[in-house]
Subunit: 230 residues, 2 copies
């Protein structure tokens, strides 16, 4: 049925055209200051049309968020494409770095992530197809991390007394906290902690990873040496 196929493709194109326009307008100002009329004009469509493709303004912004999460996951996937040459622990570090680079390269997508997470009106999420995909993508990202940890536990680089899922969640959540800070201080936003201390974000992040790695690295050799000294 190339007929319905083509139609579906065209619909998809329109959708993307709208999201493109929305990114342009919203990223140049902010969600609150951007209006649907502006976005419609940028997309060279009428406002009414936007509502044929998106439930409402929030839904449209979540579609942008979804794009961002897709992009981030593709970066993670790339890391894993060359996974053979690295230990699991190295993969974990690389994922962390990938995350940080993403935030620095696409701060606007990260702003969208932050907004998405701050949505307190749960109903608004339930009605959004894009929100479901965002969540799905997050699960997928977490699975990457779980895989990295499992590899690490196999090759002995990661302490296998942790539950991989649990450890992955911890690493993910804490890394997100770090990146959120990077993001905040990257603009004139909020308390400029990093300006106060004369420490670059990359140094900070490196230390963070070291801290984590130190905590999760396999303790086997150390344990042996500990015992042997007693």
């Amino acid at each position: 049925m190339s007929k319905e196929d083509r139609k579906a493709r065209e619909k998809e194109r329109r959708r993307n055209q709208i999201i493109d326009a929305a990114e342009l307008v919203i990223f140049s100002k902010s969600l609150e200051q951007a209006t649907m009329d502006e976005i419609a004009e940028e997309a060279e469509l009428s406002k009414g049309t936007l509502y044929l493709y998106f439930e409402n303004k929030t839904d449209l912004y979540i579609a942008i968020t979804q794009r961002g999460s897709e992009l981030l996951n593709s970066k993670f996937a790339k890391v894993f494409a060359g996974a053979h040459d690295y230990t699991g622990l190295e993969l974990v570090k690389m994922m962390g770095e990938t995350y940080l680079n993403f935030v620095e390269e696409y701060p606007n997508y990260f702003t969208a992530f932050m907004y998405y997470e701050s949505i307190s009106d749960v109903e608004a999420l339930k009605n959004s197809e894009y929100a479901k995909q965002c969540d799905q993508n997050r699960r997928e990202a977490l699975n990457f991390m779980i895989r990295a940890l499992q590899i690490g536990m196999q090759d002995g680089s990661v302490d296998d007394s942790y539950e991989p899922k649990e450890l992955a969640t911890i690493i993910f959540a804490s890394t997100r906290g770090l990146t959120a800070m990077t993001h905040a201080s990257g603009r004139g936003h909020h308390f400029e902690l990093l300006d106060d201390m004369k420490v670059g974000m990359s140094t900070l992040f490196e230390n963070f990873l070291n801290l984590l790695v130190e905590g999760m690295a396999s303790k086997k050799e150390l344990k042996i040496s500990e015992n042997s000294s007693k």
Copy 2:
């Protein structure tokens, strides 16, 4: 000048009365769904009056955020009130637990924190006196953590090869990431990771702290035993 004092106090009382009402209304719904008219009615004042005390709706919500940050800091202060009996490392852990408890006890304040951090319109922040206080409170919270670390470096419980400020920032940011996840999964919000894995948040958090602690604990004895085994 007890005259101006009293006036100032009354003004402060009005202000609090409005914030009380705003909390009641906004917490029961959400920021978007709450209207200024409702808040005014709840406060038994007219809408116009709200604007004598707050720049705009966002500013009012930031005032709530500020309250929350004040409350959180008071909890941190309590931890330090009994600091003598604990090592620096223990204090760090206790601060983490305090944070987690706060999120569980006052999820609405944490929602406000999340919103505050997601504000992408920087101008809106610049105009808010409350925003400045929020930032100030954050700095203060960070100082608590720095002090805990310094104590730890003194008593030998914390690895002193780190820069205290830097380490404090890392711990804070990553802990925030964890608490944000706790918060999200505490409601029907977003991907219910924690439901998937049959792991309680408190267990997860405990492991997180262990991981951090493991990484930042003083390595001196270990290093000695490592050397002695070679």
